[in-house]
Symmetry: C2
Amino acid sequence: MKGDAVRGHLDALLLAALEQGPLHGYAIITAVQKRSGGVLELRTGTMYPALNRLERLGLLRSDWQSAGERRRRCYELTDAGRRALGEERTAWRELTAAIGAVLDPSPAPGPAT
Amino acid sequence: MKGDAVRGHLDALLLAALEQGPLHGYAIITAVQKRSGGVLELRTGTMYPALNRLERLGLLRSDWQSAGERRRRCYELTDAGRRALGEERTAWRELTAAIGAVLDPSPAPGPAT
DNA sequence: ACCTATATGTTGGCAGCCAATATATAGGCC
DNA sequence: GGCCTATATATTGGCTGCCAACATATAGGT
């Protein structure tokens, strides 16, 4: 997969990864990788700042889990995050429909043919 | 549609627009706009340099039509351009499948259930 | 002692798109 | 004649958002 593949859809991927329940950053990377069949690999330099940004926007909340184990920052969706995910899904469907229609145009139905 | 919507897929759109036959730049803009249901609007500052680049890469060839009419630069696909379009289509399907799988994960089928 | 996996982050760079601007012809309208 | 819009092509400068590289730390295997 060429670079910049997820450009413009990173937020959607992160929000979707957290939909089924809280995860920490490293687990998000592996979850996205697994769900995409190994195609999508989030970079730490891309993801961590993005998670921070989404938290500042109120779409995620995080808490540190340091007990016994290694320290982990666990993220979960807020209500606003769930709404944002819905909007991201809609935008994604619109975009794929639009680009798909250009890439594979359905033959224009002629009048009475 | 938010900005940068076509990011990373501009070449695919241009090649696809030229698949059914030669067009000049302005006609490509209107064709893409129409095919996408008005969603995608190519900017001149984006498209013309891209067309130039694709021609330098040997994926398009162009000729000026200045007879009588306004001058127009008409582009058409080369054989390499047709092959590139096929590759762009494949890449697009892979990308949409991968992102789609993350956005709308199908429930993992348990063994023998 | 060393490597790998786990885990989180920062910094600098740059590709690729956009807005704004420039130019030119043709046709309609007042 | 003067103005606006559509047609038609092109360049410039700027910014967004991702990436590679680096930095740090613990735990477990060999």
